[in-house]
């Protein structure tokens, strides 16, 4: 049974490899549909296996619901020992089902959506690769393996956002996503280092493993470890959260998510709605036993999450691209999730994660359907009156919007309401005033959510006519079955999915919470958060009111007033509108602060390189040339001079001697005679001397 775990993870990988190597030929020979079928089947089978194992888990004893498999001992460095280990426990089971389930639906949808693209094989290969990485992330049994999946989904996000890389803007968006992600990952890595260091200082020299069970045991002793007089859980809690802000698009590292809409719509649905962006929430939920030891870190998470929720929601007011509205909506909803886990309501956060996956995927795929119908148009100002023309899309979109707005009866209501309640209650436990502030922010954000979603609905689907040219209007048609079936299924889940998490005030035990209890109960008991049914009803009431107000305001402005009415209002608040429309100029600020300063530094370095280093090199070259010239001179004047001198000398001597050769015999005679004569004299003298 454990071996099936590997299968879940590996099947998408195999699908990715098949599409990556043979996919081009398969697409050419048959059609892109075959690639899609290969990809969809691999992940669907993973889902079926996961579901089977989920049922197995249910049949197990509640306290021992764990299926693990250890492949081999991967890293052993010093006293750090990391295994390649996968686990299926309630938390990972929920994640796996969401990822593979929603993932399979999106794979199916993609077959229809991408039917005219040239590189479908590449798309499906990347999509499967992403599924593989995400599954590794959620099924990893230790922090390092999870980080592998963490990085893997970041990579696939880059590949898929920049899928149409021939367009420079799209490719740049991919790069932005990856780089911003990386900044967050830096925080994550720092947290890891502190963690390892801290563990080795309390575990007495034995092997450090980063498996979650081990970490849970040791988390109690980690409280006593301090770096720079800050408790270790706080340090790593905040550092890991920084990683989460990058991956899950919270303040300040959210800027990549809106740009990521440059990728194909199914990608936005899968990665940036249902799965990858939720990795941060999952991570905190997984490490709950560390976070509960640090109220400070939890408070930070709550505040940042709540602030992001409201901040992103306001931006949804002024966006005109249908996908961008949904992108900011995702950021906002993620803020809700972080507020949940920050209030130690871990299962609530995961619950909202799941319901959000349903309705956000439905919304994105519905948007894809709209774009498909509008022949690629994404600007809502050019839409309108689509209600009658693409009914299936309209109704599913409407259902999902009601869910996200938090209308009772739909899944979003239950999950969102629980978050509001828990954040409020956490104030009296450890978050203090921050908790109340967070609660207020979240409540307003809920209102805004309802408002902007229905603004979107009214502008896109209502109105008297479609605000585009005739050619586009004629082409409007409902999407094929492969797409609409998925929409319907997701819409259904957006309603029904909430009922497994009914809160206790309705008199039933939340199935969801019960399922996840073994994971979280130990941690939740550390922080004593009070419960009050009265407060819960009150807050539920408040959230419904907020949602109703939001929808009504949108109705007034956009339905009654119509599109023109909206425009007049815009001119009235034109200045504020301008700022909101431009996303509070955050991207521009980042650009100046960070990108430009990096550019300045690199320019300075390039100057250094050009003048100093090149200067030195040139100087060396000049010196060499100088020496060469000098040598040349020496060679020319000294060496050659010597040689010439010798030659001259010989010539001179020769000429002098030559003058002896007069050619006149008398001179020769003279020399001979005098020579002989002198010789005789010499002999005479020598004889004389010798005889002496």
């Amino acid at each position: 049974m454990e071996n099936l775990l590997i299968l879940i993870v590996v099947l998408p990988l195999i699908g990715s490899i098949i599409n990556g190597t043979l996919g081009y030929f398969i697409q050419k020979r048959y059609s892109g549909k075959v690639n899609g079928i290969i990809a969809t089947s691999s992940i669907s089978i993973s889902f079926l296996i996961a579901f089977y194992l989920f049922l197995q888990l249910l049949s197990m004893d509640i306290d021992s619901r764990r299926i693990t498999i250890n492949l081999y001992n991967w890293i052993f460095a010093g006293n750090l020992s990391v295994d390649l280990e996968f686990v299926l426990d309630p938390l990972s089971a929920v994640m796996v089902l969401v990822v593979s389930g929603v993932g399979s639906l999106i794979h199916l949808y993609s077959i229809g959506y991408m039917h005219s693209d040239k590189s479908q094989w590449r798309y499906f290969s990347y999509l499967n690769l992403f599924a593989f990485a995400m599954l590794v992330l959620v099924m990893a049994d230790n922090l390092i393996l999870m980080f592998v999946g963490w990085e893997g989904v970041g990579l696939c996000s880059y590949l898929l956002i920049g899928f149409w890389y021939q367009d420079l803007d799209k490719a740049t968006a991919g790069m932005k996503a990856f780089i911003v992600n990386r900044v967050g990952d830096f925080g994550f890595l720092l947290g890891l280092f502190f963690l390892i260091n801290g563990i080795s200082s309390v575990n007495g020299g034995e092997a450090v493993s980063l498996s979650f069970s081990y970490l849970k045991e040791i988390s109690y002793s980690l409280v006593s470890v301090q770096f720079y007089s800050i408790a270790l859980p706080t340090i790593i809690g905040i550092l890991f959260f920084i990683g989460a802000t990058g991956k899950s698009a919270q303040i300040p590292l959210y800027v990549w998510l809106p740009d990521a809409m440059a990728g194909p719509t199914p990608v936005s649905a899968l990665i940036h709605a249902a799965t990858m962006v939720t990795a941060g929430v999952y991570m905190i939920a997984r490490l709950n036993f560390i976070y509960v030891h640090s109220p400070v870190a939890l408070t930070v998470v709550v505040v940042v999450g709540a602030t992001t929720a409201l901040y992103a929601a306001t931006m949804g007011f002024a966006q005109t691209d249908i996908k961008k509205v949904l992108a900011y909506s995702t950021i906002s909803q993620l803020g809700f999730m972080f507020a949940a886990v920050g209030s130690a309501a871990f299962s609530s956060g995961i619950f909202h994660l799941m319901t959000h996956a349903f309705f956000k995927a439905c919304l994105f795929l519905g948007a894809g359907s709209v774009i498909h119908a509008m022949s690629g148009e994404q600007d809502i100002r050019k839409m309108g009156a689509l209600k009658g023309k693409i009914p299936v899309t309209y109704y599913t979109f409407l259902i999902a919007s009601l869910a996200i707005a938090g209308i009772p009866g739909f899944s979003g209501f239950f999950s969102k309401d629980e978050i509001l309640y828990r954040s409020f209650m956490s104030a009296s436990s450890y978050t203090g005033t921050w908790g109340y502030i967070a609660f207020t922010l979240l409540l307003i954000a809920a209102l805004c959510t309802a408002f902007y979603m229905f603004r979107l609905v009214f502008i896109t689907f209502y109105g008297s006519e479609v605000r585009s040219d005739k050619k586009v209007v004629e082409h409007i048609h409902e999407s094929p079955l492969s797409m609409t079936s998925v929409l319907v299924l997701l819409a259904f889940l957006s309603i029904a999915g909430g009922y497994i998490g009914l809160p206790e005030i309705f008199g039933v035990h939340s199935l969801f919470d019960g399922f996840l209890k073994p994971i979280f109960e130990d941690s939740e008991s550390i922080l004593s958060i009070p419960h009050s049914h009265t407060t819960e009803w009150l807050i539920m009431f408040l959230s419904v009111i907020a949602a109703a107000i939001g929808i009504y305001a949108a109705y007034l402005i956009y339905y009654r007033g119509g599109y023109e009415g909206a425009k007049t209002i815009r001119t009235k608040i034109s200045r504020i509108h301008y700022v909101v429309e431009n996303k509070y100029f955050v991207d521009e600020i980042y650009n100046i602060l960070i990108v430009d300063s990096v550019k300045v530094v690199s320019y300075l370095f390039s100057l250094f390189d050009k003048y100093v280093i090149d200067g030195i090199v040139n100087l060396a070259a000049k010196i060499t040339v100088l020496f060469a010239d000098l040598d040349g001179l020496i060679d020319k004047y000294v060496v050659d001079g010597l040689v010439n001198l010798v030659a001259q000398g010989i010539k001179y001597i020769g000429e002098r001697l030559r003058s002896l050769q007069t050619g006149r015999i008398q001179d020769y005679v003279y020399i001979m005679v005098s020579g002989g004569f002198l010789g005789l004299i010499l002999i005479r003298i020598l004889n004389f001397l010798i005889s002496k």
């Binding site: 050769q661 050619g663 006149r664 005679v669 005679v673």
Partner: protein, 102 residues
């Protein structure tokens, strides 16, 4: 008083030196040849003197005769050469005959 060898020998020496002087000094090729003749004669005198006064043999005379013969043939050849040169270069100046120069 008797004649002594030294007197003859001094005379021969004088003739020899004069012959050297003539060879070195004169410009005319024929004059140079005359100097050679003078030397040859002084040698002859030497031969005969030694023969007569010191040795008492006859070989010196024989040598002198042979010498005269050689001188004769040598002069013949040399003068033929000089005439040939004169035909070629129209001069017998020793200074002109310097093609061995250099």
């Amino acid at each position: 008083m008797q004649l002594t060898a030294q007197e003859f020998l001094i005379l021969a020496a004088f003739l020899f030196s004069t012959g050297i002087y003539i060879i070195l000094t004169r410009q005319n090729a024929i004059a140079i040849l005359m100097g050679v003749e003078l030397i040859l004669n002084s040698v002859n005198i030497n031969f005969v003197t030694f023969d007569r006064f010191v040795l008492g043999k006859i070989d010196g005379n024989v040598a002198a005769i042979i010498n005269i013969m050689l001188a004769a043939s040598e002069v013949a050849v040399v003068l033929a050469i000089v005439i040939g040169i004169f035909r070629k270069t129209k001069s017998v100046e020793a200074d002109r005959l310097d093609t061995l120069k250099g």
